[in-house]
Amino acid sequence: MEEDDELHLELHRAADELGKFAAKLRIRDDKGMTPERAKKFMDSLLTTVTKECFHDGADLIGHVKAFMNTPTGTMMGSLVDLEIGVQLTPSLERKFHEADITLHVIVHGIWDDKVRDAARRGIEKVIKQYGVKLEVLQDYFETEKSIEHHLKK
């Protein structure tokens, strides 16, 4: 490997000081979820997942984001600082029963496997709290955890 490639790689390795986890989730609320309740759900989801990561050793949020897609509209949620709280950008028009959520968690201080475990624990807590059904459509842990993607072929 040439010197410049090594420098380049070193910089990218710095990114792996960040622990990452992503998942696509589907929730179902048989009673129907109002836009107001959906906002509270999203707030709880991002906050709880983040707190679980901090409980397990994370010391900085990269970002914790989720995008909710429902038959009646969408909602983006983002959390960068627990003291500031979740920023929501909702455009939900009415009650819905099913929603797909893309969740993306990046924190500093713990590795991907710990982020995954903490995120899963957080998700389960919120699902239980809101009494909704959960289906994990995709879990990206296996593809996120490797440093291989930084190596030039």
Partner: protein, 222 residues
């Protein structure tokens, strides 16, 4: 076709600024496409951006400045041939190297009949979290500031004077020639000025010698 990159660490407000600047440029008559990139397999931002009626492409699974530079160049070529944007705004991953991204963008000239020019490299600095970031991810933040033409100190609506001044000193120390602007994505302070930068000004094309020099300054290698 002009490439405008908006760099900055995770959570610095890139997506919010990018959406509002894009809307402003559309109002001015430009045809805007947006590319978002993440080193992970998925990116939630593309779907959010599209919910505003903007054209967004997601490139995931690696960093577009090196590992998947070919995918980036190919995406630019396809966008040029199909959507025909005059400005492509790029939100690189939190680890992309701006000069590497310039080089990757210029690869698209070999794929189709396009001439690439670059808007000034913009790096967002999160004034609210400047201390935290310098404690934890110093190298990444320094690199993004070092390669910026313009550094935007963001979140000035919520940051204290002390945080703003600390951000300014940090930028000056790392990159004395960078222009510094104060903005607030949330309150749209500085939005039109950022749109002006992208619309009216250009940054030099990729130069291997410059990139090497920037990397050496960062790491101090001989």
């Amino acid at each position: 076709m002009k490439i405008a990159q908006i760099a900055g660490f995770l959570g610095s407000g890139k997506t919010t600024l990018l959406i509002d600047v894009s809307k402003e440029l559309v109002l001015r008559g430009h045809r805007i496409a947006i590319i978002v990139n993440d080193v992970g397999e998925i990116n939630v931002d593309a779907r959010f951006i599209e919910s505003y009626g903007l054209k967004a492409k997601e490139i995931s699974g690696g960093c577009i400045c090196c590992q998947i530079a070919g995918s980036f160049a190919n995406t630019l070529a396809i966008l040029h041939d199909t959507f025909k944007p005059d400005i492509v705004i790029v939100e690189p991953s939190g680890v992309a190297i701006p000069w590497g991204l310039k080089r990757a963008a210029e690869y698209s000239e070999a794929e189709t009949n396009v001439i690439i020019e670059h808007a000034p490299v913009i790096t967002l600095v999160d004034a609210m979290r400047i201390d935290l970031l310098m404690d934890s991810v110093k190298r990444l933040v320094e690199t993004q500031i070092r390669e910026a033409d313009v550094a935007l100190i963001n979140k000035i609506d919520a940051a204290s004077e002390e945080q703003i001044e600390k951000s300014r000193k940090l930028i000056r120390g790392i990159n004395p020639t960078a222009e510094i602007m104060l903005v607030s994505g949330r309150n749209q302070i500085g939005l039109k000025e950022v749109a002006d930068l992208i619309e009216k000004r250009v940054s030099p094309r990729y130069d291997e010698a410059v990139e090497k020099e920037l990397l050496r300054k960062q790491y101090g290698s001989a």
